[in-house]
């Protein structure tokens, strides 16, 4: 059963909502830059850390 989940592109940092089905692995691509480095955003953001990036 597909559900709406948030994804993050690790190439252009674009965030978007898309279908996610735990039982079916599908090829993902960022709608903005076309990269396949698309990560399903963790549901519990508290477990993740913030990272300093050069130039920010």
């Amino acid at each position: 059963m597909a559900e709406k989940r948030k994804f993050e592109c690790l190439r252009c940092e674009h965030r978007f909502t898309g279908d996610y089905d735990r039982a079916r692995v599908v090829e993902r691509a960022c709608p903005k830059c076309g990269s396949n480095s698309v990560r399903l955003e963790p549901t519990r953001r508290s477990t993740t850390k913030t990272h300093a990036v050069k130039g920010e």
């Binding site: 690790l10 940092e13 599908v26 830059c33 990269s35 396949n36 698309v38 850390k49 990272h51 990036v53």
Partner: protein, 613 residues
């Protein structure tokens, strides 16, 4: 017919393959023979049984234009030439019900007690030729199929005009059984559409329509023919000549597909509105019959399990099975010993199907004629001493080359080398490092990572590229003389599924600022679905990086096919941009974090078998 008479070919009709196990040279097929209720060897096809049968149902072979009895010969050239009983429609053999066929059969070959049987057949190789289905045009309601009787499909028209058809080749339209004075054909019904039907060209419809217009001209030269089309694809030998003949015979080709079809309620003629894109004008055509040139869609079998499931076949995005290599192994399945013939692989005409079937037969014959199978040099091997009986290897193996594990009974998995395709997904997934690869071993890959990062690691991107697609995509970029940054260092693996988590972590430990994992697109994976495990694994590493305080952006994932040289060059340029954002301090911090972690963070330490490589 030749096949039916051949002494060394055994045909199992009315049968269904339920399961296939084993590997190249040693397959075992479980086949269910459905009951025929007629002993085929004794039946002489005398037709006496059908004459007395009181049941009439639509004849599927004649597309429902005529009827057949409950006991019938499927079609005149059926092999074997024997009757079959349709038990769903038969009244049965109870004396009070019917049993008339039983009474008149001199040969006594009708057997109402036939239960069918299960057959276990050992086979060395398998040719999959399950064909295709035609598109159901009811989805394109604007054409009025099933609403208007005189709108028929190209398959139905084929039966109407065929000498062996219900009207013995005397063409007539369904509503009034008279010869139509005007016929229209609508091309690409269900094909080449991104909204309804399928996006690919069904290959045969154009020439089938051209042939049908010529047939109509031969039978009834006074009938006017009009073809509505997007573009005519007459690319085969002699096809352009046929197309020219069709036009010379008076068939009018209108470039444009009808937007609306209506019926005159009195005459049942069809009023077709179409924009002629050549003239740019809206035209209205009054036709007595309209034929929809329906496309082909993949056929997955009628049983409980599809042929994909039974034989573990992968398929392309259009739904047809995927060959091992489109140029070098066009009739081979990714699983050795399995071959394709006909429309199961892609839409094709009879000539191409016969060509492919001949190739598949030759490939199978080569395999069986050799008497022995030369296994791949790149295979997996298992060290049971380290195996923790988790069964993960069996689950991830795309070619089912690893036998089942039983933790309770302490049954270790074993690798069938003849079936192993050497993708390395099992070795990458094994949490106990109990599986090693022959070639592309852990030690070899880790040594390449070390070599890349020995000198000036901050200027390098460590990229793992699969042999079949991404690495070939790099070759394509090179041979096309495409400019791309030189910062990326490729490490070739047979499949991206081979990229173990520990390779990625090792690269970061050694000071890699950026790592790329690259493989085939999901629909191109040469190891069926091994690429899906790559995505899951990379996802896992991203999450772990996040938890450890390492930016997940430093691990990139990309699917690049062998034809995508431009994409390869573009991705490499983008990686150079990402590389510039990684500082030496960040890399040093990553190394410091990973020093406190096991080789694969989040996984308990296990003695590495790879050390012995």
């Amino acid at each position: 017919m030749d096949v039916g008479r051949h002494p060394r070919i055994k045909t199992l009709v009315n049968s269904e393959v339920e399961d296939v196990s084993g590997f190249v040279g040693n397959f075992r097929a479980r086949i269910r023979r459905h009951p025929r209720y007629v002993v085929a060897a004794d039946c002489t096809a005398c037709d006496e049984c059908a004459k007395v049968c009181p049941i009439s149902v639509p004849d599927e072979y004649q597309q429902g234009f005529s009827s057949r009895k409950a006991i019938y010969l499927p079609f005149p050239q059926a092999v074997p030439s024997a009757y079959v009983l349709d038990m769903e429609n038969c009244l049965g053999n109870e004396p009070i019900a019917c049993g008339k066929c039983l009474e008149v059969c001199d040969k006594k070959c009708i057997d109402f007690d036939d239960q069918g049987e299960m057959l276990d057949v050992p086979v060395g190789s398998i040719v999959v030729a399950t064909g295709m289905q035609v598109y159901d045009p009811r989805q394109n309601d604007e054409y009025g199929y099933t609403r208007f009787e005189n709108v028929i499909t190209s398959m139905e028209f084929e039966r109407l005009i065929c000498a062996g058809g219900p009207a013995a080749g005397e063409l007539s339209r369904p509503t009034d059984r008279r010869v139509p004075r005007s016929i229209g054909w609508v091309q690409c019904v269900g094909s080449r559409s991104t909204t309804r039907g399928v996006s690919y060209c069904s290959n045969v419809c154009c020439m089938n329509t051209v042939k049908q217009t010529l047939q109509v001209y031969e039978h009834h030269p006074e009938t006017s023919n009009t073809v509505f089309y997007m573009d005519i694809r007459a690319f085969g030998k002699g096809f352009e000549d046929l197309y020219r003949r069709s036009r010379e015979n008076g068939t009018r080709y209108v470039r444009g597909l009808p937007g609306l079809v209506q019926e005159d309620p009195e005459t049942h003629d069809l009023i077709v509105q179409v924009e002629n894109t050549t003239t740019g004008k809206l035209e209205t055509h009054r036709l007595e019959m309209l034929v929809l040139a329906v496309g082909m869609v993949p056929h997955r079998g009628n049983g409980k399990r599809t042929v994909d499931e039974i034989l573990n076949l992968s398929h392309t995005s259009d739904g047809f099975v995927m060959e091992s290599h489109p140029k070098l192994k066009p009739v081979d399945a990714p699983t050795r010993g399995i071959f394709f013939a006909g429309c199961v692989e892609a839409p094709k005409d009879v000539k191409d199907s016969v060509t492919q079937a001949s190739a598949a037969a030759a490939r199978a014959n080569n395999l069986l004629g050799a008497g022995k199978v030369q296994v791949e040099a790149i295979t997996a091997r298992l060290d049971t001493a380290q195996c923790i009986l988790c069964g993960l290897c069996t689950r991830v193996c795309p070619v089912h080359a690893i036998t089942e594990t039983d933790k309770k009974q302490k049954v270790y998995p074993s690798i069938i080398e003849a079936a192993c395709a050497g993708c390395g997904t099992c070795a990458a997934e094994c949490p106990a490092d109990s599986i090693a690869m022959r070639h592309f071993s852990d030690a070899q890959i880790l040594a390449q990572v070390d070599a890349i990062l020995t000198d000036d690691p901050m200027s390098k991107v460590v990229a793992f590229a699969c042999n079949w697609c991404s690495y070939a995509g790099g070759d394509n970029a090179g041979t096309s003389r495409l400019q791309h940054p030189a910062c990326v260092r490729l490490i070739r693996t047979m499949c991206s599924g081979r990229v173990d988590e520990k390779f990625i972590w090792h690269a970061f430990r050694q000071g890699a600022p950026l790592v790329l994992v690259s493989g085939c697109h999901f629909s191109d994976c040469h190891y069926i679905d091994a690429v899906t495990w790559t995505q899951k694994r990379v996802e896992k590493v991203w999450n772990r990086m996040d938890k450890l305080g390492i930016r997940p952006q430093r691990l990139q994932l990309e699917w690049i096919s062998a034809a995508e040289g431009q994409k390869f060059a573009r991705v490499m340029s983008e990686l150079q941009g990402l590389l510039a954002r990684v500082t030496p301090e960040e890399v040093e911090e990553t190394r410091r974090i990973l020093e406190k972690q096991p080789p694969v963070p989040g996984r308990a330490r296990k003695p590495a078998m790879a050390a012995a490589d």
